[in-house]
Symmetry: D2
Subunit: 371 residues, 4 copies
Amino acid sequence: MAFTLGSRLKLTLFGASHGELVGAILDGLPSGILIDKENMQKWLDLRRPAQSDITTQRKEQDLPEIVSGIVNGHTDGGPVTVIIRNTDAISNHYSDIKDNPRPGHADLTSFLKYGEYRNYAGGGFFSGRMTAPIVATGSICTDILSRNGILVNAWISSIGNIRTDKTSGSIFEAYGFKTRMPDNEADSKAHSYIRNLQSDGDSVGGIISVSVDKIPPGIGEPFFDSIESVFSHAIFSIPAVKGIEFGDGFAMSTMKGSEVQDRIQFRNNTFITTSNHNGGILGGISNGMPITLRVAVKPTSSIRKEVETVDLHTHEPVTLKIRGRHDPCIAIRALPVVQTMVSYCLLDIIMSSGNPVLISRIFNGNSKDAS
Amino acid sequence: MAFTLGSRLKLTLFGASHGELVGAILDGLPSGILIDKENMQKWLDLRRPAQSDITTQRKEQDLPEIVSGIVNGHTDGGPVTVIIRNTDAISNHYSDIKDNPRPGHADLTSFLKYGEYRNYAGGGFFSGRMTAPIVATGSICTDILSRNGILVNAWISSIGNIRTDKTSGSIFEAYGFKTRMPDNEADSKAHSYIRNLQSDGDSVGGIISVSVDKIPPGIGEPFFDSIESVFSHAIFSIPAVKGIEFGDGFAMSTMKGSEVQDRIQFRNNTFITTSNHNGGILGGISNGMPITLRVAVKPTSSIRKEVETVDLHTHEPVTLKIRGRHDPCIAIRALPVVQTMVSYCLLDIIMSSGNPVLISRIFNGNSKDAS
Amino acid sequence: MAFTLGSRLKLTLFGASHGELVGAILDGLPSGILIDKENMQKWLDLRRPAQSDITTQRKEQDLPEIVSGIVNGHTDGGPVTVIIRNTDAISNHYSDIKDNPRPGHADLTSFLKYGEYRNYAGGGFFSGRMTAPIVATGSICTDILSRNGILVNAWISSIGNIRTDKTSGSIFEAYGFKTRMPDNEADSKAHSYIRNLQSDGDSVGGIISVSVDKIPPGIGEPFFDSIESVFSHAIFSIPAVKGIEFGDGFAMSTMKGSEVQDRIQFRNNTFITTSNHNGGILGGISNGMPITLRVAVKPTSSIRKEVETVDLHTHEPVTLKIRGRHDPCIAIRALPVVQTMVSYCLLDIIMSSGNPVLISRIFNGNSKDAS
Amino acid sequence: MAFTLGSRLKLTLFGASHGELVGAILDGLPSGILIDKENMQKWLDLRRPAQSDITTQRKEQDLPEIVSGIVNGHTDGGPVTVIIRNTDAISNHYSDIKDNPRPGHADLTSFLKYGEYRNYAGGGFFSGRMTAPIVATGSICTDILSRNGILVNAWISSIGNIRTDKTSGSIFEAYGFKTRMPDNEADSKAHSYIRNLQSDGDSVGGIISVSVDKIPPGIGEPFFDSIESVFSHAIFSIPAVKGIEFGDGFAMSTMKGSEVQDRIQFRNNTFITTSNHNGGILGGISNGMPITLRVAVKPTSSIRKEVETVDLHTHEPVTLKIRGRHDPCIAIRALPVVQTMVSYCLLDIIMSSGNPVLISRIFNGNSKDAS
């Protein structure tokens, strides 16, 4: 269904951009897991609008309230519900778009599907604002994995045509860079580029790279619950994502079989491959090498330039000047969303594996005493 | 779960590569839908091994038997079960690989997950052979959509570095070309290239392009059941797929917002966009423009060259010469799998929409009299 | 999963008895359905504590806040979220039970499953208080069905050994009686009986009867989504329910085939049966006759008498005097829960049927103009 | 969906009564579980027609073929598929009923839902014959539980008004009695009664009792995945079941709270209750006491007496003499279906619990060496 995801660990979203609140429910965690509210806030701050000169200036504090599922700072085994109140929704900016759909947004498709009673203010439940509670609940999953040494690293590897081959060696490293490209030169270049686009009222796309280290071998399922299937299902639900590839992805379509063989060896008591063209997944299942993926994010559709569109009722052409406050490169704020979403998916996959050794390991060291 | 997919229309796979049979169940169709067994056979023939000089020579007839769900040539409302017997499985070719995992295959991950009792012969239930029943049941969905004018066109747009911009204008057009590239020049070039790789015992990857025409506007769901989510979940379950993009996909990550605006107009009684960078989907929902996607397929992992690997039990390095009969470009045989899988997903999305007008329309004209 | 139910129309619960709030999300309704907040309040009032002299005196106002899913008083197609704040939770009454599980409650099983971090106050997420948001969201379903003439009637048919054969001819008729037995004599007798039990600090069980009139024929599914399966799954999740039977139910186990034949005739343009031993369902599917079921509710486990139990940590016997405010006959307050839950299940079944005529009919007449 | 059940362990049915075969897929078992084909046959024989003088004389051998999921007699981690061929289907007996629906059967509802293309022969996919593959796959679950000492005992506790209070102390004990009532006197009385009904061409109902011993405490979930919810969902899908109660069930509706208190004590290193009115389940979760339930089975609807019904097309009354071979007391053959279905549900609940200690324990001792 549209707003519930997952197999053993369910994630349910609710709320809307310009309503009273947005929220998420994480159902399926065992009891006794330490919830680190400071870390949750930290992750929300990384996604928050108005963090820097190259993000939108909508001013949301994004303070999470955990209204159920916690006893003495630990999960109680029931649904963990997080709500985040909307405090800076300026709905009148959106009255323009009621009848004049913005290109690149869900305005037209929302009208086509829901008709007159659609929730259009601020994009309603199509809004990127719905990803705030994903980050809040996903941060819980990130913490659980991190306590086990499973690190979901992510960074921006390209903005427009500015690219870097550098990678992030820790979960938060990329956030030390304004553009989240973990490379001083590329970061500085991309920052200037974005500032210029901002002045122009334009925007640009980017690519988010993810590498999950220390992943247990043998998780995931064949066919319909392959790691790629589960990850892509979740990630394509994030607004503005238009492509996903694993390992060498699209580049593999141009290569020969002899060029992409990940040869298998046994070293330091474990199976490894001497290269990782397949991104740590074969037959839908992890082989213990890092899981690598790349996510294509389109340029923010809302730009300050005038745009021709149409009136939904008269069908006459109109010119629309989009007001509101927008991100010149939404990939930057999508980064923590992808990162925490991957954590959520991974934890669901581990829990769904039914592998008792693995499940036991993942939830050990999560209690108060152990932390 | 691993072998069941879908929301309103469930697809369940069973069997294994070198067992007695492979099969699929399609559960959820209303009664009275005409089943075209000749078309089912035609689709299976397009996926079948040994069709031409550039596909594997394993000789399977792939004759589908519909063992339930049909009364007088029409669906009876119960589960439609198709089985396909395995007739040319040569298991002794695979004794080599029992202890020596092939790179790029699921041999190692299968061992890591399932241990000694894994099904290794011919890749077991990880085998591409499992896609035969997907094609058989998916062909039913293709027929239902086609009877409504919804056309799931697909073709190969690149093999290695040989590309074409030509597209297929009908469901079967690409199959008139040996390499499925609907372009005489590219086809001929790619055919020679593949023949050479074959002599070398090597293989190559490719890209499958899909364009769904005459798609009803307003189908799909926001967030977790977006069209992209549902499609990618299903397509990444097909062996050898490593990437998916919608519309301009990864290229959008390099572009400016002002360059990718799909402007909205009203023409011939319907909303259209003047370009289709977004591939017919916004906010997870169709806008009525063609749904376009591209699927990256890796080169066949089994090549005839010797390869170093490891013994699963002694952990010593070994040299493996992979026997068996393999495809030099598996993208060619993956094409009808992707095409029928997209049809299946689309029909499930339409049925799950709950839109009575659309559901009514899609199943009209499917009865005997109407055909 | 524990807190999400349903196929096409998902119901998700969150919150806990003595936390900040309880809530529910109804996801899957089309846009444009009129939400009648007054009716929602009316249903909540029927379930509310402290309605009369024979219900618990916990004083909750049970004011529903619809925090998402509504635009101009109609559904917007997104998740409808209702929260109800807990205002009269007296947690200190429950400190006694932290280590001393009450018999008949989930205190021990909660400890066995969740351990030290369980949510014990007021029964946590096992509490009957979780049914308030079920009633709130279920009332929306009741309204939709009622606008189509589908009437989910329910009443109490027995309390202890006091029984009535009278039935309720309308949705709300039973609520005109203090004990919800629609029979002046039985009502008065049962009322006195309960008052006496109350003085004794004791409680009693009862049976809830449901009859759904004007049900469309041909809904439901064979086997695993039979009407009985869907209803019983939902109803057994309501605290204190211990049995369910359809039609003549357990009585049929004592009868001969010749005694329970529901003979088929065609009258007034429709198929009917001359009796209804099978309760309107055959093969899991409705035949158009009223769907009838009976639900056994056990006596409230919390009684004011002293009870021997055990200390969870020392394992020593202890004597517990249960404080708190409790219902002498919980069946009375369970009635609207069962009634609205049946409405929810029925609407999900209709929506899941995929029958376009039926879906179209059920949502017509639900818009503003029509109301 | 209609033909797929379960959470972590999926059960999918296919086929139809008078088609080529019936079958089931069990997906989700780990690899390495010993499959005892002799036990599977034994269970099928207990359900098989023509076992004795009081079961139908349809002669099916019910030989299970496991066509996937097994390597060297153990599960391989893929879907376990069992098919059973139909060998004695006499379709011409059913031509009578094509237009003349039998009372008490799904003939009319099948027509109402599926129309002209319904599968009517022998009841199609509504037939009790669909339960043969449930028994075959369920027997695997029974074996897994038994190897862990978890015993799903079941027997017939009443036939018509003949009752017994005796219980079955082992899984198979009841099958030593012709009527499955584990009580020589009741068995003999019931046998005569059924023989007389048979001569009359009549039938009778009965009650199946189940007691699951040595159940691990703390399994199951609150609310929507309560043990009662999961069990009742599955059991109500079995044809002819009309009621289910847990513990004292309907009797509790007549009792006082003070009469049904299951007092908690700590004995022999575990929590126990001094009585078991609640049938081993509180808050949806097991407390370690035996799980007890009773299932009401209606009398076989097909009786040899003439019956008035109606023509589906002319709507005229007709007299129908039902031919075919039928059971005078279908509860007898439903017993192993209920028993193996409970085993399946229980194993799914344990696997879904995510409790690593429990999952680990349940699958230990299931490998070849251990057996």
